[in-house]
């Protein structure tokens, strides 16, 4: 019961479709607790700003509910919400001076002059700009405008403060300072902060809780440590920090094979499970040549101020290492990985699964299966129905007991592994066309997400480099497809 009271903001089954018909957010659920510093993190276009705007009241969800303290505020206009926003470009009113900007909200509430003066003084102290009351907005630097924008929001004592990429316009040094100041301010005020950023370092530094988003969906919610050390999927692993990603499989109890060697690990999955292993560059141990599990050669070593970035080429992959030692190009080295430095992500069971309908059957040739984007012809009956046999001249295959199978209209799920797919720029070469939506570098190949016109995603590994937006066709040999009857 107590836990329930802690929740301040709740998004329930929120969907957002824009006027042009594009659905950015399909079904999003999110809980934000009282007093938390929550960061919505993701690449541009992932829907993080839209969520913030819905909480602020500037955008309405197409469907779903938005609760504040248990009350439905989905249709409440922004001026009636106890929420204030620090806008990306600050949006300070250029025709008003600092004092009038800060008191804009107070004046509407009818706060008396004396209280206004006191509050302005207090917030200006808080943002370190005492005595700036009479200054015109145009005379302020970017950092100062940023602080005034924060002051203008917090002077209203909101329950929630929304910050929309608020530090992105500042230079690097100023940004670091503001990150620390914002965190301190959050402690002092004790209210909920919801911060939106595409900068993973910023998110990890500032927040109590990070919500990693991609493509309108929440990928992972957790503390900065969780997100960094235990990424739930490859997107999170790749987006947060640097990582070496290896394709491999489990070979025994807490034993995993990748990169040409078997390693002990701490995650336990059934043997033969296909996995991706994520290793952070700072966790790679470089040993004497001949020692360690993998051998390689240094191909680059760059000084980054506090550490060196070393690239090591092995016969299977290229590995990035961060440490304090400097190497010469051409140095032979060994590589070792401690069990707790290997984070294992099982293959996402839901990728490359497509639902189709059995359309036609011809004995000897098999089924034609129709999917939304494509059709597969010549699928042998026994690949869909266990033990089925095809008899000439009959309009249905027969099952083990010799009875005819009623196949018309049955739904099947077809799936394939990313490594079995192939990309081509020849539209005729594959069974479906689409555009490269995103990709992750995986040491010796790339993993691409190809999005078709009907918004289906195809995950394919390919050694060639394609760019975002490239038009490609996906091909998979028919024998590599797995079929399963839909329930």
């Amino acid at each position: 019961m107590e836990k329930k009271q802690d929740t301040l903001i709740e998004l329930k089954h929120v969907k957002k479709t824009f006027k042009d018909g594009v659905t950015l957010i399909e079904d999003l659920n999110l809980e934000i607790k009282k007093g938390e510093f929550v960061t919505l993190l993701g690449p541009s276009g992932c829907g993080k700003t839209t969520i913030l705007r819905m909480i602020g009241g500037f955008d309405k969800p197409t469907s779903g509910e938005l609760l504040l303290d248990g009350k439905d505020i989905t249709n409440l206009p922004p001026n009636e919400r106890p929420i204030n926003t620090v806008f990306q470009k600050y949006a300070l009113f250029p025709h008003l001076n600092v004092y009038d900007n800060i008191t804009f909200g107070l004046k509407i509430k009818g706060v008396d002059q004396k209280t206004q003066d006191e509050k302005v003084k207090k917030v200006l102290e808080m943002v370190d700009l005492e005595g700036f009351e009479k200054r015109s907005i145009s005379t302020l630097s970017g950092g100062q405008q940023q602080r005034i924008a924060i002051a203008r929001a917090i002077v209203n004592e909101p329950e929630v403060l929304l910050l929309d990429e608020s530090l992105s316009a500042l230079d690097a040094k100023m940004r670091k300072e503001m990150q620390i100041e914002l965190k301190e301010m959050h402690k002092k005020l004790g209210i909920t902060f919801i911060f939106v950023t595409h900068d993973q370092e910023e998110a990890l530094t500032m927040s109590d809780k990070v919500v990693v988003m991609s493509d309108g969906e929440i990928q992972q919610i957790g503390t900065p440590e969780d997100i960094y050390n235990e990424p739930k999927n490859l997107f999170v692993a790749d987006f947060i920090g640097e990582s070496n990603i290896f394709k491999g499989k489990m070979v025994g109890k807490k034993l995993v094979e990748f990169g040409g060697a078997v390693f002990e690990c701490v995650d336990d999955y059934a043997a033969d499970t296909m996995i991706d292993a994520v290793v952070r560059p700072e966790d790679v141990e470089i040993t004497e040549p001949g020692k360690g599990k993998i051998q390689g050669e240094v191909i680059a070593c760059d000084f980054k101020g506090i550490f060196y970035v070393t690239a090591i080429k092995t016969d299977r992959a290229e590995i990035e290492v961060h440490n304090l030692k400097s190497f010469d190009i051409g140095d032979k080295v060994g590589i070792d990985l401690a069990p707790d430095s290997i984070h294992i992500i099982p293959y996402d069971a839901s990728i490359n699964h497509f639902e189709g309908v059995l359309e036609e059957y011809e004995a000897g040739k098999g089924f034609t299966v129709r999917f939304e984007d494509f059709a597969l012809e010549g699928v042998a009956a026994n690949r869909i129905f266990d033990g089925a046999t095809e008899k000439d001249g009959e309009d249905s295959p027969t099952d083990v007991k010799g009875e005819k199978i009623a196949w018309e209209g049955r739904k099947v799920i077809a799936s394939f592994l990313p490594e079995d797919g192939d990309l081509s720029d020849d539209a005729e070469a594959g069974f479906v066309e689409g555009e490269i939506f995103n990709f992750i570098f995986m040491d010796d190949y790339y993993r691409y997400r190809v999005r078709s016109k009907s918004e289906e995603d195809y995950i394919v590994n390919d050694a060639d480099l394609w760019n975002h937006g490239d038009h490609v066709s996906v091909s998979v040999p028919l024998e590599k497809f797995q079929f399963e009857l839909a329930k």
Partner: protein
């Protein structure tokens, strides 16, 4: 000696043009304004202007017509420009074009056409002379008010409106405290572009009103009677009024654009 071309020389034709068609006539007007019919220095024409009730009445009347035209234009143009700029309609550019389209047709033609239409409805134009004048002026000058307002309002960042709502302002409050003050530069340039020409316009009056009760037509009537001195005096008085108004409005817009420009980034 080698001939060297400098970019300044490109200005020569314009300088000649300016001198012949702007500065010289202005000097001539000033000369006539400060001399009497015998060509001697004199201020009697000014004294005459400010003593004549008829003259001052005409000045007042011109001002009333100009002010009324400007106010009506502003009242029509502001909501129009606001809707076009902020309603996020796909066709807003096309609609704007429709409002501006009449400007492509010759001014006199438009007034003649409007006169015919009015005659069709009213029969005798003399019955509603004042109304007709204002109607024609508003019709003529409306695009000049809509365009600068539209420009200012499209540039007005929506985040200002959202920020005001975020701070608790109702729609009416957002308009009065944020949108209106931020659109002042557009209002000022719109008003300038409508008020000044309607102050000196006399084609409309000539065609609709058939009278000399307005400054522009007064100047015309003096000049056509070869009374260069009196015509020049009235021209100079109008010129001074216009200069003062322009100076005031320029200061307003300059100050404001300066402040806003700094805030863009």
């Amino acid at each position: 000696m080698k001939y060297r071309f400098s970019r300044k020389q490109l200005a020569i034709p314009y300088a000649i043009f300016l001198f012949l068609f702007v500065i010289l006539p202005l000097l001539v007007v000033i000369y006539y304004a400060f001399t009497n019919s015998e060509g001697k220095l004199s201020f009697t024409n000014y004294v005459g202007f400010f003593r004549s009730g008829e003259m001052l009445g005409t000045l007042l009347y011109s001002t009333v017509i100009a002010v009324l035209t400007t106010v009506i234009c502003l009242l029509i143009a502001y909501p129009t420009a606001f809707i076009l700029a902020k309603a996020k309609m796909r066709s807003s550019e096309a609609l704007l074009l429709l409002f501006v389209l009449p400007m492509w047709i010759n001014f006199t033609l438009r007034i003649t056409a409007l006169k015919e239409i009015l005659t069709l409805f009213e029969g005798n134009l003399a019955k509603y002379q004042f109304f007709n004048t204002i109607l024609c002026m508003v019709y003529d000058f409306l695009p000049f008010m809509i365009l600068p307002l539209y420009n200012t309002l499209t540039k007005l960042d929506d985040s200002y409106i959202e920020a005001a709502e975020d701070l608790g302002a109702k729609k009416s409050h957002v308009f009065l405290k944020v949108i209106l003050p931020l659109s002042v530069p557009g209002i000022v340039s719109g008003v300038t572009m409508v008020f000044l020409p309607s102050m000196t316009n006399y084609v409309v009056l000539d065609m609709i009103y058939n009278s000399t009760y307005i400054m522009g037509s007064l100047i015309g009537s003096y000049f056509s009677a070869y009374d260069w001195n009196n015509g020049s005096v009235i021209s100079i008085i109008l010129l001074i009024i216009i200069c003062v108004i322009t100076a005031i409005s320029n200061r307003y817009t300059e100050k404001d654009t300066d402040e806003r420009g700094n805030n863009l980034k």
